[in-house]
Symmetry: C2
Subunit: 325 residues, 2 copies
């Protein structure tokens, strides 16, 4: 059995917990938290919740899944714990991946552990889809569409506006853009032409809704480059209609082969009821692969590109060839 | 440069030739044929065509892509040549894969070479899609749909009927079945409910079309279990409208996570203008991986499950993490 530790018990940590519970070859050893352990109630029976500081002492786990934020948590936590354990994270700040990889690689090698960074669905499964397409159709045009789904970063940005009680932001691919890409047209698309943003906002009584709406649609980086729609709803409606965290999207690649330029379109798409549970399931599959590598004495940092599909499952080569090939 | 040999210069061999021509790190060393070499004109300049027998002598190639049929060619050829070279084949008789794998594995290990079997899009990329889905959503329901596209086996079966000059058979997924599977309904579907078959037949003058149609729709294994439509057309129409070999399909997996059974749908789909050129492109990417493994002294048989995405391309880890993750 692969003994899994989870650091951080938010939505993603609970997603990993649920995936580990379904894995016949893995067990949850402990959850580690920076909050007060006694305030946390796990869904899995008979598993201890410990303070994060317990990890310094050398816990009996095979792999630690670090469920922290990419902005400040993971750049510090993943290298720190990669010295002590084999680890998996979901670092998703694309521009800072090379730096994060180098830091984690150094720490993992120093500690003799295996580490997986930037795991999930994007970066993660979508990255794999982009790379397979490039391998088969070199130079192909690859488009990534996200949604329809809740962007937690954009929802948080709206919540920081004065007078906003709660907010949910849905990222939505533009149907005509999707259609042109699927048809292999390889269109040039601006940010605005690819996605729209739809916001549901519960405002405080007496708040200036016109000002809130203007602040949202003009917010640089988050909304200014998009066509954004704002709907004001009640807290009751928010709770009733927008409590889930659905997401998804598509990676679509179009390229040509041969003398006559035969055209090919490859699409990998996800439609997810629960973004954190799906992401947790991806992290868990790669945690299995990392635990296997660590057991073989392989150390250093890896990404989803470095792991063969067979490493992700507990099935033997014979079983895979007989049932999945 | 990876020196590639191609054995067999039919549609698939030409597809591999086209893909190798696009690969910056690979070159076509020679084409080998069981036909008369002087009758074959390659599309690549200054590459020799040699009799297949030349392979016995030890040719200067890094990997041999074997473009033969699965029924009789590959079970014999792949083990034979795996003793002498690193090889790639597209063996696609699903039921006989375990036996073929064992034969090729033994031969490759005896010769100290690396071998890839059952490469292409199904088995191949579709197999990868099935396995990734199972790794993320253990126990998920996975459906494979083929088409709309030309099935060469079914077209050949029609051509063997008396009075048929030429035939083209299109395999078509049933739209309502696709829809239900995409909606995550996990329906039970019979063979007939998943695909229909559409046949275009050019008959000899005076041939009994009613008999031909009856022989097609009642043919066991090929057509009897499907709703089949037969259209009689002229040889001119056949040439004008049905000379391509388009294909494609979808692997759709639906599974749940968590306590509340959140539902997730993963789809990998292909829309291909030229089945043999796309398949040749997949074989070429995996030939690169096999050549790299051979160079590292790794021997034995592998499938697409054993190869990490990064092995398929000539880009460095740094480049991959910066541009594809």
């Amino acid at each position: 059995m692969v003994r899994v530790g989870i650091l951080g018990y938010g939505n993603l940590g609970r997603g990993v917990e649920a995936a580990v519970a379904k894995a016949p070859d893995m067990e949850l050893a402990a959850v580690y938290t920076r909050r007060s352990p006694e305030k946390i109630k796990l869904r899995t029976a008979n598993v201890p919740v410990k303070p994060a500081a317990a990890l310094e002492a050398g816990e009996d786990i095979d792999v630690l899944v670090i469920c922290g934020g990419s902005a400040t948590d993971l750049p510090e936590m993943t290298p720190k714990y990669a010295k002590l354990y084999s680890v998996v994270d979901s670092f998703d700040t694309h521009a800072r991946i090379p730096e994060h990889f180098a830091n984690v690689d150094g720490a993992a090698k120093a500690g003799g552990h295996a580490a997986m960074i930037s795991c999930g669905w994007d970066p993660g499964m979508f990255s794999i889809a982009r790379l397979y397409a490039e391998a088969i159709l070199p130079g192909c045009a690859t488009y990534t569409f996200w949604g329809r789904g809740v962007s937690q970063g954009h929802s948080d940005a709206i919540r920081r506006i004065e007078g906003v009680l709660d907010a949910r932001q849905y990222t939505i691919p533009v149907p005509s853009a999707l259609e042109r890409v699927r048809a292999g047209e390889n269109p040039e698309l601006t940010t605005r032409q690819k996605h729209t943003r739809e916001c549901f906002v519960a405002a405080a009584e007496g708040a200036d809704k016109a000002r809130i709406e203007a602040e949202i649609v003009n917010m640089p980086n988050y909304f200014a480059d998009y066509d954004t729609t704002v709907h004001f709803i009640t807290m009751e409606e928010m709770k009733r209609d927008h409590s889930g965290l659905p997401h998804g999207g598509s990676v679509i690649s179009a390229g040509t082969t041969g003398q006559d330029g035969s055209s090919h379109v490859i699409e990998y798409s996800l439609k997810l009821d629960s973004n954190p549970e799906f992401t947790g399931s991806v992290l868990t599959a790669f945690a299995r692969a990392i635990a296997k590598r660590a057991q073989k004495g392989i150390s250093g940092a890896f990404t989803v590109f470095d792991i063969a599909p067979a490493e992700l499952v507990s099935l033997s080569g014979d079983e895979l060839r007989a049932h999945f090939l």
